[in-house]
Structure formats: C-alpha cells, structure tokens
C-alpha cells in the first residue's frame, strides 16, 4: 500500500469500511428512526455483508469485476434507498477502474468520481438536500483535490474522510428534500442524515485501511 491501491488493498478498504458500519449500526438505526423508517442501519449492515460475500465469491484478481459484483449484490439485496444508491456507487466505481488492476491516487479519484457520477444519474439530489450526496460530494472533491496536488494515497483518503464527515455533519441543520425524510419537512432539522452518515463511515474505513489503523472504528 501507499503509492497504489491494488485488488487486495481495495478488499481491505471495503472490509474496514464494513467494520465501521457495523460498529455504528445502532446510531444509524436511531437516525433513520428519527427521520425515516428506521431500517437504514440494517440496510447498511446487509450491504457490507453482501460485499463480503461478493469478495469471497470473487476469489481475486479482477478489480472491475469485484466492484461490479459488489454493486449488483447490494442493489439486489440491501433494500430501500440504500440498495440502489450504494449499489450504484460501487457499479460506477467498477466502470471507473477502466480495467486497471493497480490504481494511483489519480486513478482512485477517478474511480470515486465515476461512482458519484453514476449515483447522480439516479437521483436529482444535490448538496444541501440532506441526503448521502452531502457527504459523497465533498469526500470525492477532497480526494480529487489531493490527487491534483499529488498527495499520497493515505493522505488523500484522510482528507476525503474528513471532508465527508464534515459534509455529513452539515446535514444536521438542513431540511430534507429527497427520501422519506422529505415528508418530515422542517421537523427533521436537528437530526443528521443517516445516509450521509454512512457515506462518511465508508470514507473513514477506506482511509484507515490505508493508514494502518484498521482496528479502531470511528464513532459518529
């Protein structure tokens, strides 16, 4: 690890992300109970379980194929808004590999940009609408900025994770304009968006896997 991300590195990033999701499932459930239907924590854990299954089934070597399989599995199995949206991010990431098996920091930024682009085709939600987009966009933008400055992959991912966390935090004061929380209107102010919280956890996991700190888990 360090200068490039290969197949095994990506597996470790996804697994570490899963650890962070699992450690925060109750928090995610609580947030979705406050503004939605309470199933987001379960949907995220299911997503990470499906990712683990896909990793096991894949065997190794084909990064594009792995990310596609994870995305397709999450789409089919996670349910709710999480399934298609998170699945979409992975499918987009798959397309963004362009067949490369080893990614430098610029490739990694392209990969996540492709994930973001794909999910943007599915939803009109933009920054400020109190959805997972509020964490995804700053996370991806920070990664792109770091890549443009030729930062190391671990450093780029730390900056991305921080930006995503900030984006998630920014949703607290927003009114939801997409998803179930929309029906709550202004009553949702004061609660962090669960989807954005999950995205921040994923970035945190990616970053920690590349920074040798995979045993600690972030608390959101």
């Amino acid at each position: 690890m360090g200068e490039t991300v290969g197949y095994d590195d990506m597996v470790s990033m996804i697994r570490t992300a899963g650890k962070h999701i699992r450690a925060n499932v109750d928090k995610l459930t609580e947030l979705d109970s406050a503004t939605g239907d309470g199933d987001h924590g379960a949907a995220m854990v299911r997503s990470m379980d499906l990712a683990d299954d896909a990793i096991k089934a894949a065997g190794g070597g084909d990064l594009k194929g792995l990310l596609h399989d994870i995305g397709w599995a999450i789409m089919g199995g996670a349910g709710g808004a999480t399934g298609p949206l998170l699945g979409c991010i992975f499918m987009g990431m798959s397309e963004g590999t362009e067949g490369k098996e080893s990614l430098d920091v610029n490739d990694l930024a392209e990969l996540l940009e492709a994930g973001l682009a794909k999910v943007r085709k599915q939803t009109k939600a933009d920054v400020g609408d109190k959805t997972m987009i509020d964490a995804l966009v700053p996370g991806v933008q920070a990664l792109r900025a770091a890549a443009d400055e030729n930062a190391s992959i671990p450093e780029a991912l730390v900056r991305a994770a921080d930006a995503a966390a900030g984006g998630a935090q920014s949703t607290v004061s927003l009114i939801a304009r997409f998803g179930r929380a929309k029906n709550l209107g202004a009553r949702g102010i004061g609660t962090k968006d669960p989807g954005a919280t999950s995205i921040a956890l994923l970035f945190r996991g990616f970053s920690e896997a590349q920074n040798d700190a995979g045993d600690e888990t972030a608390a959101e």
Binding site: D39, W72, G76, A78, G79, G87, K121, R180
Partner: protein, 332 residues
C-alpha cells in the same frame, strides 16, 4: 401494548406471506425463484408482458393482481421497501414473450431508483421494455409537477387497461399508449383517521389526535396537508371529490372511473357509503361515474382510512376496463 398481529419472526414476514399466498391461490399464481410472483400458467408467446414492482406490507397489492388480463409478474420487495434491480431485471426477462414488456412503477423514491437502474440494464441488454410511472397523488404537488406526485391505487386501472390491451395482442407501444392515457388522466387523494402498526417493530405508523382526520397522507402515513376535525362520510367525500375533480379539471358530460380503496382499518360498509356520495356528487355535476370498484386493493397495515380515486374514461378505455380478467384479488 403488545403488537397484536398474527406473525412469527418479523425477519420472515415477506417470505412467509408469499408462501401462504401462493399456496392459497395455487390455481392462479406461483412463486418463481428470487421471490417473483408469476402466473400459474404463462401468457401466450407473442403478447406483451406486464411487470410491476413494489414493497410488501400492502397486501393484496401488488402481487394479488397477477393473473390473466392483468399482471404477468410482480416483484415484491421487503416490507415497505423496493425490490432490487437484479430482481426486476430477472422479472422483465422472464415476462418477455417476444413482444416486449411494459414495466409499471408507482412513483415512490425507492421504487423509482430501483426501476431507473433496472432500465439502465435493460437498455444495456437491448431488451424491448417501456417503463410507465404512475404519479397521481394530488396532495403533494400540482399536476405540472408529476415527479412529486406519488403512485397510489391508480395502479389498478393502469394494470387492468394495459393487461387487457396486452391480452388482445396489441403492440408494446399500443399497450403503453392506452395505459399512459389513463395514467395521465387520473387523480387520487388519501385520508386517514387512525394509524396502523409497523409489523417489524410494533410501532404506530403515525399519530392523529382523537377527534381528527388527515387528508393527503402518503402510502405509509407520511404526513399530509389537511389535518382537520373528523367529518361525516358525505362531508369527507365532498371535500375530497371537490379537490380531485378540480385537479383533473373534469367537465359535465365526461365519464369517470371511481375507486374507493380501503387502507385496512376502514370497513367495506364505510367504503360503500363514501362511494355512494362520490356518485351523487358526480351526478349533481352532470358527470358520469361510469365504473368503479370498491374494496381493499392496496392497504398499509390496518390504518383506518381510504384512497379516493378518479380517472377519465373514453370508449376505448371503457372497453379495456370491461374486458375479462382473473387474478386472486381482482376479476371481471
């Protein structure tokens, strides 16, 4: 109070209810792999297939309408949750009998996300599919913003009209056109007086003061716009039909289909009483409420309330509506 529902492990609600449904109606439907609900006897080759998707917990919707002259396949999701694109894609492939597939989707975000992703795959695979989004709830947005109108009981006439056209051997474009003509000429509004119970955790779906009712709720009790004191059946119908007729801009001399759909906790007795007034209101205005079933077609875990629906009819649509059909929960 304990959750007073006859269930077992909440994790198995959907698999168990589908199993029971398929056993009870083995003459008409069966389960295919991946939780698809398909007809017991497949449609003839060369006819357009009709596929729909939607969360569970709304029985008999949507799987109750799989059958001759209606749906070919329903793709049920988990409770209140859309099924994933992989399942939708499988359903579409299976329903394609060589003449393409009409893919009917109710406008709810999860379903639309899943459906859009499915359509991306469908195009990649070069399949012959047209997607029809039903957008009819007048509570949330004006007619000029269909993307913000939810899909309610209007799915039933849309399935019926599309199903009849498909059964008659018409082309996919034809089937799409008639179904879409109805879909863009319908309007629905919900009202509730009591909440239901989320089956996974026993919690109330929403709450309403003891003396109040609320007009304009969403499919899962998402807050509406018109909380007001309880009214009589006639007064409620007056308010709601007024809004619906205005939204659809119905003129004297026109013919409508009308549905009074119970959400679970409202008796059929009440639904009939409301429908009676819907009919009277139309008659007073010189509008003909020409057709109309009354009953529980889409429920949502026993809240007391109804969805009131109207849709514009013309001679061709009436003929398609009147064509025979046979599914476990709707037959003509």
């Amino acid at each position: 109070m304990a959750m007073k529902k006859f269930i077992n492990n909440p994790d198995n609600l959907v698999s168990e209810l589908l199993e029971g449904y398929a056993l009870a109606y083995a003459n008409k439907v069966k389960l295919a792999g991946d939780g698809l609900v398909v007809r017991a006897k497949q449609k003839d080759a060369g006819k357009v297939g009709i596929v729909t998707i939607g969360g569970s917990g709304h029985e008999p919707a949507l799987s109750g309408f799989v059958g001759q002259g209606l749906l070919d396949i329903s793709v049920p999701g988990e409770i209140f949750a859309a099924p994933g694109p992989p399942h939708c894609l499988k359903a579409i492939k299976r329903a394609d009998r060589g003449a393409g597939v009409l893919f009917v989707v109710l406008n709810h975000e999860g379903d639309v996300l899943s459906a859009n992703m499915t359509m991306e795959m469908v195009e990649k695979d070069g399949l012959n599919v047209r997607m029809l989004l039903t957008q009819e709830d007048i509570a949330n947005a004006p007619r000029s913003e269909p993307e913000n109108r939810r899909g309610f009981i209007g799915f039933l006439p849309v399935y019926k009209i599309a199903g009849a056209a498909a059964e008659a051997g018409r082309s996919l474009d034809d089937v799409y056109d008639v179904a879409s003509r109805y879909a863009t000429n319908m309007a629905t509004l919900a009202v509730a007086v009591k909440t239901g119970t989320v089956p996974m955790n026993g919690e109330d779906m929403f709450s309403l003061p003891d003396e109040d009712m609320e007009i304009g709720l969403g499919q899962h009790g998402e807050a509406g716009t018109g909380q007001m004191e309880l009214k009589t059946a006639d007064e409620t119908a007056d308010i709601m039909m007024g809004m619906l007729l205005k939204d659809l801009d119905v003129k004297a001399g026109e013919k409508l289909l009308g549905i009074c759909n119970g959400l679970g906790g409202t008796t059929l007795m009440e639904q009939f009483i409301v429908y009676r007034r819907m009919h009277q209101i139309c008659e007073e205005k010189g509008i003909e409420l020409a057709r109309g079933p009354v009953g529980e077609y889409i429920t949502v875990q026993e809240p007391a309330g109804i969805q009131m629906h109207i849709g514009r009819l013309d001679d061709e649509l009436i003929e398609l509506w009147d064509a025979p059909c046979s599914s476990p929960f709707f037959s003509m």
